[in-house]
Symmetry: none
Subunit: 290 residues, 2 copies
């Protein structure tokens, strides 16, 4: 690959071997990075990926650090810097050291900076959701009912087929359950309601049902859960409060409180519970088979 030509071509300069000017701002840096990342040989691609994901660290890292992080020799990093238009690593680092002025981008500071922007700016909104997500996770770690979690794992790992239901807001969670179970070879069916077919006949004794539902509780979810109980199919419930409908029918109730931002609520903690539950169940089933 002929580096200079390639980069010139990307810039439509049409002049070969022209010396490329170095990016003079972080924004320009990211642009250049994106531009050259299109087509790179293996080692340089590793550099691009690592640097894209760890841009902040350049200011305080040596070539050797970056090289180790990207799992390439130092010379590859040097080549990469030059590919970006810098004379070498030092020049690139200077860009980031100069920009460092705004203090420690530790999580707290950075978050404050993000929120500082205009009230409605996308970054401010993102910062709010990040914060809400973190609070939700913290809260979850403190308040989740261990017994219920253990029961849920026990119930699900003994089931022949795991059925999953969740609508509207809870549908992504249900879909995520289905994805992990599929990946881990656990027989599972997602009751997604396509074509208004409810597959309720597929709910058979020996199976189990995971129902995910938050206020306002979706009709179909409640209906399927009720049917499950009628058929003696045990129910694992992911919901927002112990007083939600179905709670008394369930073998295990996992209550999850999401911290909201305005009228909005991201299912951060719910996802964590879902993935942990699914992985634990898959592990338990595997163990039981051996």
């Amino acid at each position: 690959m002929e580096y200079l030509f390639h980069v010139d071509a990307a810039n439509d300069l049409g002049q070969m071997n022209e010396t490329l000017t170095a990016p003079d701002s972080i924004e320009a840096f990211r642009e250049r990075l994106a531009a050259i990342s299109i087509d790179l040989p293996r080692r340089l691609r590793q550099c691009a990926d690592f640097i894209a994901g760890n841009t902040d660290r350049i200011a305080v890292s040596t070539v050797a650090d970056i090289a180790a992080g990207a799992d390439v020799p130092p010379s590859a990093v040097m080549r990469f810097c030059q590919l970006l238009g810098f004379s070498g690593y030092s020049e690139m680092q200077k860009l980031f050291r100069d920009a460092y002025a705004m203090g420690f981008p530790d999580y707290e500071t950075r978050l404050r900076n993000l929120k500082g922007g205009a009230a409605e700016s996308p970054t401010a909104i993102l910062a709010e959701f990040v914060e809400a997500g973190r609070l939700s996770l913290e809260n979850l770690a403190k308040s989740l009912d261990e017994t219920a979690l253990n029961t849920a794992v026990a119930v699900l790992s003994q089931a022949q087929t795991v059925h999953i239901v969740g609508r509207r807001r809870s549908f992504p969670i249900a879909a995520y359950f289905a994805y992990i179970f599929e990946k881990m070879a656990v027989p599972a069916i997602l009751h997604d309601g396509v074509g208004q077919l409810d597959y309720s006949h597929a709910l058979r004794r020996g199976d189990a049902l995971i129902a995910v539902t938050f206020a306002p509780y979706a009709e179909e979810t409640l209906a399927l859960a009720a049917l499950a109980r009628k058929r003696d199919v045990p129910l694992v419930l992911l919901t927002d409060r112990l007083t939600s409908p179905l709670a008394r029918e369930a073998s295990a109730v996992l209550t999850i409180t999401e911290v909201d931002f305005g009228a909005f609520r991201a299912p951060t903690a719910t996802i964590a519970v879902a993935v942990a539950l699914a992985v634990a169940v898959a592990a338990a089933r595997k163990e039981a088979r051996e």
Copy 2:
């Protein structure tokens, strides 16, 4: 002034020439600084003053920089570092560089901790995912490309219809986008592939497409995105790296790094980006209509 005596006196050790331990946290550093600053000769006082007021620059400055800032020769700075209990400038700088890097997905230390603990019980597994989620969110706050986020919001808020595509692992995210857009009355279509219908004819000029894809990138997602570009439909991409396919075609690339636990990865940060993006777009569209 007899340095060692003075410092020992401040520590009430009463033993002269004892080697002083270096501060091991920024807090300890500030304390030590305050303690010795009480009575210093001229040049060392200049060092103390400058360093107290520019602590944050230590991580990215050389001895010469600090010396110039404090208007003293480099050797004075060296003496000052030793007075604080460090072996030299490098050791002091390390403290600040480490503090700066804390909280990054540090694959050497942090992940080993995560994977190291025998995560047998469901509760332990959950704790791991909670921790991974927290790290992902922190990392997101620090590293998300603000420009790209703003561009994404601009592009999507001008679109007539917003199309969404995401398969397998990314499907729950795509579904969540669809849910929020529906709730906020933003015209949106989820390309879920039910019945192998691809709805590709619905992609029309004036629309925009959100594609969510992580390695290994799903065929259908790539195909639809390619089609969008052919029809001049702008593309907003949520993906794992800048070098992923489609990145060059996209109007905005939002790279999101999820911290994994073992082979598993919860889309915690991705969800946060999705909800923030969707809400920002809905807000922008509402504003535009008024």
